[in-house]
């Protein structure tokens, strides 16, 4: 990508969208990566020659995918309203989630992942529990499993300390310095911190491509923070990589090609591997952006008294 004028940068040359080039200088495009690699690392006098461009392209994209999974820290955020069926369909470029929150009364409240299963598939069964099949031999499925039905209709209690807890709203009373609760069985001794959260809970069904929530999330606003693989839905023109990782991508391509090429000495493959690993480390350190200003901010918390 060529350098652009300030007018192009700030106002996209008067075209829409105006913000098309904002921050673009941090990134190098996939096209630049491939072209630079072919020019500088591939050729008659290089370790790598006679390689098709599509191989270089493949490894470049793979490197970008790997970087997107963790090193980039480029979190995408999507806010949607959860449906009556308590589902949030995962975004089309979703790979993994970072944090899921619900947004209410102007406050973002992080949710916890339910440690219990909250959705299941079911088959229709006869009275003697035999599975019913259709004429094609497939098991007949109900719209909802009993588990899902209970969850969606708000009949499923929660082990979490939210509004679905069986003990939610129970009042206790004090007698001679001790608190007592009208629990059905025994009394609550201590607190299970794992489930001590008042927010709604969720569980991700990866294969189904949805996030299933408990019934308190119906029609509530949900914020999903997630990572993608950087492939921009297959639009090669939009794929970019942070410049801090540019050299790593070149090293990764070299390593992958040398490692799979016949007759390359092991020491050369090793050199490429070390170079790749070292450059990844360097780039991660650079991207972590540790500088005095940030350290100072963290260290200021030192003097706070913890009761």
């Amino acid at each position: 990508m060529s350098y652009i004028s300030q007018y192009q940068y700030y106002e996209n040359g008067g075209n829409a969208p105006e913000d098309a080039n904002w921050g673009s200088y941090q990134y190098v495009s996939l096209q630049d990566i491939v072209v630079n690699y072919e020019l500088m690392y591939s050729g008659n006098h290089s370790l790598i020659n006679n390689e098709e461009r599509y191989k270089i392209l493949f490894h470049a994209k793979r490197a970008i995918q790997e970087l997107n999974y963790d090193a980039f820290k480029e979190i995408k955020v999507l806010q949607l309203t959860v449906s009556e069926e308590l589902r949030f369909i995962l975004p089309s470029d979703y790979v993994n989630w970072v944090r899921i929150s619900y947004y209410k009364d102007g406050v973002i409240r992080p949710m916890v992942e339910n440690i219990q299963v909250n959705s299941a598939r079911a088959y229709l069964q006869a009275n003697d529990a035999r599975i019913l099949f259709d004429q094609n031999g497939n098991a007949i499925q109900p719209q909802y499993s009993p588990l899902d039905f209970a969850r969606i209709t708000g009949q499923q209690p929660s082990i979490y300390l939210n509004s679905l807890s069986p003990y939610n709203g129970f009042l206790g009373y004090e007698y001679e310095g001790c608190w007592y609760f009208d629990f059905a069985v025994g009394a609550r001794f201590g607190l299970n911190t794992e489930t001590a959260n008042a927010n709604p809970t969720f569980r991700i069904d990866k294969k189904a491509g949805v996030i299933n929530f408990d019934s308190t999330m119906a029609n509530e606003s949900c914020i999903l923070e997630y990572v993608s693989d950087g492939m921009e839905n297959g639009d090669d023109t939009q794929i970019t990589v942070n410049k801090l990782f540019e050299e790593y991508v070149y090293a990764y391509i070299s390593y992958q090609i040398l490692g799979s090429k016949l007759g390359v000495q092991e020491y050369i493959v090793n050199r490429a591997r070390k170079s790749k690993s070292a450059l990844l480390r360097n780039a991660k350190i650079r991207l972590s952006n540790i500088h005095p200003g940030r350290l100072l901010m963290n260290l200021r918390g030192r003097d706070k008294w913890i009761k």
């Binding site: 008659n44 098709e52 461009r53 599509y54 090669d236 023109t237």
Partner: protein, 319 residues
Amino acid sequence: MINDIRNTVLAVLNKNNYGYISPQDFNLYAQQAQMDLFEDYFYAYNYQVNKENQRTSGTGYADIKKGYVEVIDFFSVTKPLIPIGPNYTQYNLPSLATTGSDYYLINKIVINNTLVTSGTTTGTLGGQNKIVDSNANFTSSGVQVGDIVFVVNLIPFFVTVTNIDSNTQLNVTPSVINNFPLDYQIYKGSTIKEVERVEQSKITLLNMSPLTAPSSMFPAYTSEGNVATLYPTPTLGTVVTCQYIRYPKVPKWTYVDLGNDNEPVFDQSQPDYQDFELFPDDATDLTMKILQYAGVSIREASVVQYAGAKEAAEINSEK
């Protein structure tokens, strides 16, 4: 050069009354010899690359490879390819009919699909390197220096904008534009994409993979017969350009009639006259090659042996 070589060949052949070759035979041998040497350039180039990799080749005047590159580039041609049918998927590969010359080797195919403007020329200027269109406004259209002008002629060609003379006139790289009206299309020069050649055995697999499927940024092509198929199908109005190495023109020693000593007299003013296209330093090799063919023709083994030995010695000395 062709007359000098013919004279030398005849001089060697006539020595000891070995024999004589007619102009027709000479022209046949000359064509063959030129093709032999032309192909040798590519092998010699590769040999020099290997020598460089072995660090037994120098730079500056010792850079032998550079000489081969220059010779090969002499035969380089860049021409637009003609689409077959209206869908812009398939294109005719270079040929005498479509680009003016057959190709020996396709070096690259590029596409350009950012159309800036198009129109029809309304005149010409003396320098013949002008695009004149009184109906155009090249400035407001966004035409810039470096943009590519695709001119639709009998054999289409393209030129590059070197200056915007006015709203209605462009200065372009030298080319013969001496008739009008000619349709033209101007493309953004900076948005060019190279199309990768892909083997037939790979293209199906490539298209199946989301990571490697050809895209508008990384397009690909396969060839079948004299047709190139582009992936993905270029958008309407895309200009596809090919840079290739053409075959050398067929040499032809022409003559008028027989002279006083019953010999054909060289005449390079004949319309079908064609000199060798190889460089002068190949004259010796050409002579030896032709001598070998002539020696076989007149069944003189000693001529073949002599020429063969000389050629081998020449090749060795150039390594």
